[in-house]
């Protein structure tokens, strides 16, 4: 609904948003107090554990943000094209399997070849995982929301089967693959930290997507098809099916990189439960980032910080994991409230307004 709103109403909305922020944070503090925990200590631990020092920020927050960054960009790209890819989770697992398979198989390759091969394989695997819902949408007209959700579950079980079966570590006892060799591991982006070049790759992809969406012809076609397939076809003579096909597969590939970067940059082996629903969190990341690559970078780092802070809250403030989840949820809700404030302010200060 693009409706410019009158300044008075925008102010009301802004107040409402501020009220929501205050209420959520207040509710969080009261809940923590009731649970017998110190909200101030919790908040301090959260901040210290996420942005307390440069090393913390780089080695924990940014590291945590990498899979969200890839998956968030994947979701943003798809959504911009009007493709409701809820399947980043499955594509991530497929990418992890593809990447780890190459890393374990082509051990003779030198690192400058093997590392790119691992990433390419994870991208291909993620794209392949997206192919099924893509074809079901384009050939059979079946909405991708359901097919991608189902493919998520299949992907998770496929990865589980891999670590119990074909890709299980040599001795065949633990549900994990062998560790991948050094040559297959992503080098550090900033020496002395845990941050690997996956982060850099994600930033590059974000930049490419940003330029593509804003400046390129194909990016314009993506936005047109996403905003109105009819107008794109009739007024723009664009073939929506082609645009959907390419952006869906590209989205799957980028989500696949999330899995590939995780195993080759961080865990060095494939395990079950590689992702904690990041493919779903990525949807929130993408939307909160306004479906803009730059926005996704910011929100992915924000969510990375949230997760980093959550770990520290448990370790340093003794707050149990369940409570940490509550705090996380409240922080997201508070940010939503702030977002409403921002939107309302934007509406008062621009011509177009538009929500």
């Amino acid at each position: 609904m693009s409706a410019g709103i009158a300044p008075a109403r925008a102010r009301e909305a802004a107040l409402l948003g501020l009220g929501a922020v205050t209420l959520t944070l207040g509710a969080g503090s009261v809940l923590l107090l009731l649970g017998g925990y110190d909200p101030a200590a919790a908040g301090a631990a959260m901040l210290r554990g996420s942005v307390g020092s440069w090393n913390t920020f780089v080695s924990i927050t940014l590291v945590r943000s990498v899979p969200l960054l890839f998956a968030g960009l994947a979701v943003a790209l798809a959504f911009r094209a009007g493709v409701w890819n809820i399947g980043a989770e499955g594509q991530l697992y497929a990418g992890a399997v593809g990447g780890v398979w190459v890393a374990l198989t082509f051990t003779g390759l030198p690192s400058p070849l093997l590392v790119p091969a691992v990433l390419v394989a994870s991208g291909l695997a993620g794209g392949l995982w997206a192919l099924v819902p893509t074809l079901m949408r384009l050939r059979l007209g079946i909405g991708e929301v359901i097919t991608t959700i189902l493919m998520n579950f299949v992907g998770i079980y496929m990865a589980a089967w891999m670590v119990h079966g074909p890709l299980q570590e040599q001795r065949g006892v633990f549900p994990q693959t062998d560790r991948i060799i050094e040559a297959a591991r992503l080098p550090a982006l900033i020496p002395g930290t845990r941050l690997h070049i996956g982060f850099g790759l994600a930033l590059v992809i974000a930049a490419v997507l940003a330029v593509m969406l804003r400046r390129s012809r194909f990016g314009f076609q993506i936005r047109a098809v996403g905003a109105s397939p009819e107008a794109a076809a009739v007024a723009g003579r664009i073939n929506p099916a082609r645009v959907v096909f390419i952006s869906f597969l590209a989205s799957g590939a980028i989500a696949g990189l999330a899995g590939g970067a995780e195993v080759s940059g961080l865990t060095y082996a494939l395990y079950e439960d590689l992702s904690d629903g990041w493919g779903y969190t990525a949807i929130a990341v993408a939307l909160l980032g306004g479906l803009r690559p730059g926005g996704v970078v910011v929100t992915a780092i924000f969510f990375g910080a949230l997760q980093a802070g959550a770990g520290a809250m448990q370790r340093d403030a003794g707050i149990p994991s369940a409570w940490v989840d509550v705090v996380e949820a409240l922080v997201i809700l508070a940010v939503l409230g702030l977002d409403r404030v921002r939107a309302a302010r934007a509406a008062t200060s621009t011509v177009e307004g538009g929500a």
Partner: protein, 491 residues
């Protein structure tokens, strides 16, 4: 004289930086039909959206039957007896016509509603296919459904925002009879329309808005078209041509039947509302296509414009065809795109903006600005979202864009629908000029005056077939008969 049913005073409303209403006044009296005029973007729809409870005014007062009130929602307005037929359809496409009619009528059983619907259709002569899904019916049926939906609630004040654009001449006549009858029952009726003759024919009083202000309110008696147009466009700009062109009769000669001038040719095109359709379009002619909504004109337009490939039959059309589609809000424009982007939608393909993988944004923005000024689009800048434009201004953007395409052929469906008088005149003038320069133009329109006034040749579509109208039958009556029977009176 009794108190007016509705008294609007000093109504102001701003959208971001656009002051849509800057102090508009309007009285609607019981028993009158009140015509409301104004150029595109003057604020007519905004004013009635305030009365309908959809928009809250920033300042000013709304009085109904002498009592000052604040309308919080359309529901409030309904309950005060205000019925609004919107300029843009407010129907639910996925629901049936019957369901749309019943929507919001709480407290009556569905059977009871059905009885009232039947009775109202009977009384008003507005017939709609009740069981059809709204997504499957044409704009004419949609317009009738909108009007019926409002009448079902038995409003004391009935407001119709440009209801006539998509109706056939007979239906317009029927609607006006109905409006007069409703007024005579003691209701107040307000009507927004751009065709002065229509408005003058039905109204008792007239109000003109300009740039968000009421600039003239007058009795019908004594009002001249010229004075009204002067009030609408402000001062001396209104001249005879602005009025004359609208009802002109160009009747240029048919260009020579030279096969080399054939720009597009259809033969035996069948499928999707077209049956064995055959047609030739030649350079330099305006080919008028008349017909009752839903007889295949839209499908024909899509095939001619190269947007749809026919299932069977041959269609030779140029690579690039300028196209003004029927539904500007879904097919013509992307509401969430700004003007530059909407213009880029069609024009970025052109070589003159340069090749390569990047969008030539600077050239496109200049072109957009040129179109905005040339077609006098009321928008603060080319960075305005298309969805925020008034209906007429949206149409101007599309026309400007398609004409800039420089194609060999233009297919236009109801190109002046929603345009104010001056703009419609301008577009008609452009079409005539471009045809004279050699452009092939297919003009699909429900406005018979427009078809007859501009076309060199006229065809009629009935049930997917194309019948050419003989020269001597190119009159309202002749074409009207053909539209209904599919047969020419002579043949």
């Amino acid at each position: 004289m009794s108190d007016p049913l509705v008294r609007l005073r000093g109504v102001q409303r701003r959208f971001g930086r656009v002051q849509a209403l800057a102090g508009a006044d309007l009285d609607l009296r019981a028993g009158e039909v009140h015509g409301v005029l104004g150029a595109n973007g003057a604020g007519k729809s905004t004013l009635f959206n305030v009365l309908g409870g959809l928009l809250a005014p920033d300042a000013g007062s709304v009085e109904i039957e002498g009592a000052q009130i604040a309308l919080g929602s359309p529901r409030d307005a309904w309950s005060r007896g205000i019925g609004l037929v919107h300029q843009h359809f407010t129907l639910v496409p996925a629901l049936s016509v019957r369901e749309n009619l019943a929507l919001g009528l709480r407290g009556r059983s569905l059977a009871e509603i059905s009885r009232v619907v039947e009775a109202t259709m009977e009384r008003t002569g507005l017939r709609v296919p009740l069981e059809a899904s709204v997504s499957a019916i044409g704009v004419g049926d949609r317009q009738r459904t909108e009007i019926l939906k409002t009448l079902l609630r038995d409003p004391k004040v009935l407001v119709l925002d440009e209801p006539t654009a998509v109706l056939t001449p007979e239906e317009v006549d029927g609607l006006f009879d109905l409006l007069r009858e409703l007024a005579s029952e003691g209701r107040a009726v307000a009507l927004v329309a751009h065709k002065l003759d229509e408005v003058l024919a039905v109204s008792d009083r007239l109000t003109v808005l300009r740039a968000g202000r009421t600039v003239l309110t007058t009795e019908r008696v004594g009002a001249t078209e010229r004075a009204l147009v002067a009030a609408m466009v402000g001062g001396g700009v209104a001249d005879e041509i602005a009025l004359g062109v609208h009802r002109m009769s160009l009747k240029p000669e048919v260009p020579a039947l030279d096969p080399s001038t054939v720009v597009a040719r259809l033969s035996g095109v069948t499928g999707d509302r077209l049956s064995n359709a055959a047609l030739e379009v030649r350079a330099g002619e305006v080919l008028g296509v008349a017909g009752v909504e839903g007889n295949g004109q839209h499908e024909l337009a899509l095939v001619l414009a190269g947007r749809v490939r026919p299932a069977t039959g041959g269609a030779q059309v140029p690579d690039e065809v300028a196209f003004i589609p029927q539904d500007r809000r879904t097919e013509g424009l992307v509401s969430d795109f700004d003007l530059t982007e909407n213009i880029a939608l069609a024009l970025s393909r052109l070589d003159r903006f340069g090749a390569g993988p990047l969008m030539p944004w600077s050239g496109l923005a200049e072109e957009a600005e040129r179109i905005r000024i040339r077609f006098d689009v009321t928008a603060p800048s080319v960075a305005t979202l298309a969805g925020a434009l008034s209906g007429g201004n949206q149409q101007r953007v599309i026309i400007g864009r398609e004409l800039a395409l420089g194609a060999q052929m233009l297919v236009a469906e109801n190109p002046t629908r929603g345009l104010d008088v001056a703009a419609a005149a301008y577009v008609h003038g452009e079409l005539a000029r471009l045809a004279a320069e050699g452009l092939a133009i297919v003009l699909v329109s429900t406005d018979l005056d427009e078809v007859l006034g501009l076309s060199n040749r006229v065809v009629v579509m009935t049930r997917g077939r194309i019948v050419e109208v003989p020269k001597n039958e190119r009159t309202r009556e002749g074409v009207g008969a053909l539209m209904l029977t599919g047969r020419s009176q002579a043949g």
